[in-house]
Amino acid sequence: MIAIAQRSFGVLALVALVIAVATFTALLTRRVPSWLPDAALPTATAIAAVATGGSLLLSEVADYTPCTLCWYQRIAMYPLVVILGVAAARGDREVWRMAVPLSAIGSVIAIWHIAIERNPALGGACDPAAPCSIIWVQEFGFLTLPTMALIGFVAIAGLTLAARDR
């Protein structure tokens, strides 16, 4: 059950990665398709909801203990479900002003977490309760939990920026 969930989250992270790359390419080349601003906020909400649901499933059902950096990323991701959900329902295209800073903070923490996973010496010794260097999930050879979180944050930032571009 957990193995299936992990693989499914890996696939969804790959989808989010494609969305993130495509969205930022569209933004940077100033070729945002006409349908994207309308689709952006519901998609961003879905990404935040899947990330939140996934992290809760892995900690509460699979018993993977969240480390300190996991908690900081959660603090950045969880409110995005409500913020983006309300913005999607109301058609608030200015939500990027809240979503982008939260995503940026989450991304920086996720990058540091990935660095510790790749080089455990950066994280120092292992706290017996919840070391940040431990790799609980690694799908397709590179998708660890903070990597998935980073993809989610980047995709959300890109989508909320695309939403204002009408």
Partner: protein, 232 residues
């Protein structure tokens, strides 16, 4: 004239038609988006079911109860190791004497006076231990361990849900061939020596007194320094 719509009424009808068309288009877009999301979700779960293989119900893998030892601890335990080893008050204090066994049941003792020891507390799931253990093996093979000093590892902080379980396979894969004392389920031995994190190193001299405790990856140079301190 009464049957002919006025220009104003026609314009209003056009606006209403445009608005209805816009709303219908929005509904179509939302439906399309929801359908797309559902397809992506189903596809992801489908791929997960097809490719993830058997779930993690690993009945053939030993439990913590199977692996954990039943060591006895004599003497007063050490307080938790301070961040700065220079502040460590246990230097010169008698270490607890622990009698236990390795994974095969062979007796292993730590802290007993008469045998200088370097004790490496390791948790198989700990990435820092995973990086340090091969360095320990290389250090021993390179002759870093002084004559008369015994290197013992304590397998501790057992957790079946974490990577590199069971620990005996982890030690074997690293080629570690020195005595290993297996801690109990509560990590009592680690607690008795004041472990706060792994890897954790303790050096004990011939009189059974602590000469130093270090936490974290220490590298070959510090391993040698610790072992030489134990040798006196």
């Amino acid at each position: 004239m009464s049957n002919t719509p006025t220009r104003k009424a026609r314009a209003q009808a056009d606006r209403q038609a445009r608005e209805q068309e816009r709303q219908a288009q929005q509904r179509r877009q939302r439906l399309l988006l929801a359908a797309g999301g559902a397809v992506v979700l189903l596809l992801a779960v489908g791929i997960g079911v097809l490719s993830a293989g058997e779930s993690a119900e690993r009945e053939d893998v030993p439990t913590v109860e199977d692996v954990a030892g039943d060591p006895t601890i004599e003497g007063e335990g050490f307080p938790p190791a301070p961040e700065d080893p220079a502040d460590d008050a246990v230097v010169g204090e008698s270490a607890p004497v622990v009698r236990g066994a390795d994974f095969d049941g062979t007796e292993v003792t730590i802290g007993d006076p008469g045998q200088p020891q370097v004790i490496a507390f390791m948790a198989s799931w700990c990435p820092a231990c995973d990086e340090e253990l091969p360095q320990v093996v290389d250090w021993v093979e390179a002759g870093g361990l002084p004559e008369g000093v015994e290197l013992v590892s304590v397998a501790t902080n057992h957790d079946r849900a974490r990577p590199n379980w069971p620990p005996q396979d982890w030690y074997a894969e690293a080629g570690f061939d020195r005595p290993i004392l297996v801690d109990d389920e509560e990590s009592s031995v680690a607690g008795a020596f004041g472990l706060t994190a792994t890897p954790f190193w303790v050096a004990i001299d011939e009189d059974g007194q602590a000469v130093g405790r270090l936490t974290g990856m220490i590298g070959a140079e510090q391993m040698t320094a610790l072992a030489e301190a134990a040798a006196g």
